[in-house]
């Protein structure tokens, strides 16, 4: 009954045609358009929401203050430390940017998370990478590097084993896993939603009796993806905070 169902090649649901400035380095497709819209949207909401600030906040200002408080208390102060509130603007914009990008996955008629293309998670992860190296070297000098590679309290013959592992961990695994985690989660969600939607359409045509199955599952998975999008934005920000905190206070 469903034997003839074929899933399109994976490129077909992730690679988009150029809309403007074709064949140049500044070509715009759906992915980069969504990124630009997201950036403008966040800036607009925040500028408009904080233009006339009141002592007792209401409406948009309330939401903005809650978001800031969530990042400041839940992430910066808890993870990086009470002396590091200067990182809250960075972590907050990182969180909001990733959250809004992830949420395009379940917005009707758009339904594509730009974070499922490697360029964006990789760029964000490299940004984190540069920042935690800069913070570490600025606050501890070369001791940051030696403290990581030769952790104190380890018997010296074990350095043969520990040092290469730590080197690979700090230089390669951290930014790579940060980027791949976000990418793979959003990619898996997008593939799952596409597969269920195609299955609904196909079964509606060939076997209408079973079509409510994939349809209801699609709605349930859409709700689940809302959770995943939020959680991935939170985890990315949290891990960035952990890495920065590790650079600020390496002995904790």
């Amino acid at each position: 009954m469903l034997g003839a169902f074929t899933f399109p090649p994976i490129d077909e649901i992730f690679v988009w045609k150029d809309i403007a400035f074709k064949d140049t380095a500044f070509a715009i497709n759906k992915t980069s358009l969504l990124v630009l819209i997201t950036a403008l949207l966040i800036v607009t909401i925040f500028v408009a929401g904080t233009r006339r600030m009141k002592l007792v906040p209401g409406g948009v200002q309330n939401v903005i203050e809650m978001t800031y408080d969530f990042v400041d208390r839940g992430i910066t102060r808890d993870i990086v430390g009470n002396d590091a509130t200067r990182f809250t603007p960075f972590l907050g914009s990182l969180f909001l940017f990733i959250l809004f990008l992830n949420l395009w996955e379940i917005i009707p008629f758009i339904q594509f998370p730009p974070t499922s293309r490697m360029a964006i998670p990789l760029y964000l992860a490299l940004q984190t990478y540069v920042i935690y190296w800069y913070v570490g070297l600025r606050h501890h000098g070369l001791k940051y590097l030696t403290g990581h590679l030769f952790p104190p309290g380890v018997p010296w013959p074990l350095y043969v084993l520990v040092t290469p592992i730590e080197l690979v961990q700090v230089v390669l695994v951290r930014p790579f896993s940060l980027a791949v985690r976000l990418l793979a989660n959003m990619m898996a969600g997008h593939i799952l939603l596409t597969a269920l939607a195609l299955l609904t359409a196909y079964s509606l045509k060939n076997a209408p009796i079973i079509s409510p199955g994939p349809f209801l599952l699609n709605i349930a998975v859409t709700g689940f993806e809302l959770l995943v999008g939020f959680l991935q934005a939170y985890i990315f920000t949290l891990l960035t905070a952990v890495y920065i905190g590790d650079s600020l206070h390496p002995d904790h």
């Binding site: 994976i10 793979a184 959680l231 939170y234 891990l239």
Partner: protein
Amino acid sequence: MHDLILAAQSAGELKQGLSSIGAGIAYGAAAIGPGIGIGYVVGNAIQAMARQPEMQGTIRTTMFLGIAFTEALALFGFVLFFLAKG
């Protein structure tokens, strides 16, 4: 001559089929360990929350961190699936 072309074609298909099977097995195998690991992390976090509900916030944050680190391995497998298949 015709047989040779057919043989060459089926060899290409065989390679593609085998790499698809390999990719499937790789992802399946990569999901086993992290599955068990996430189970441990969440199970122990729930136990800790039940014992000390006042520490809930800290435990939840740490739980998400643990899940994120454990899950990374499964996601490497997921990416490898596409690399091996393509």
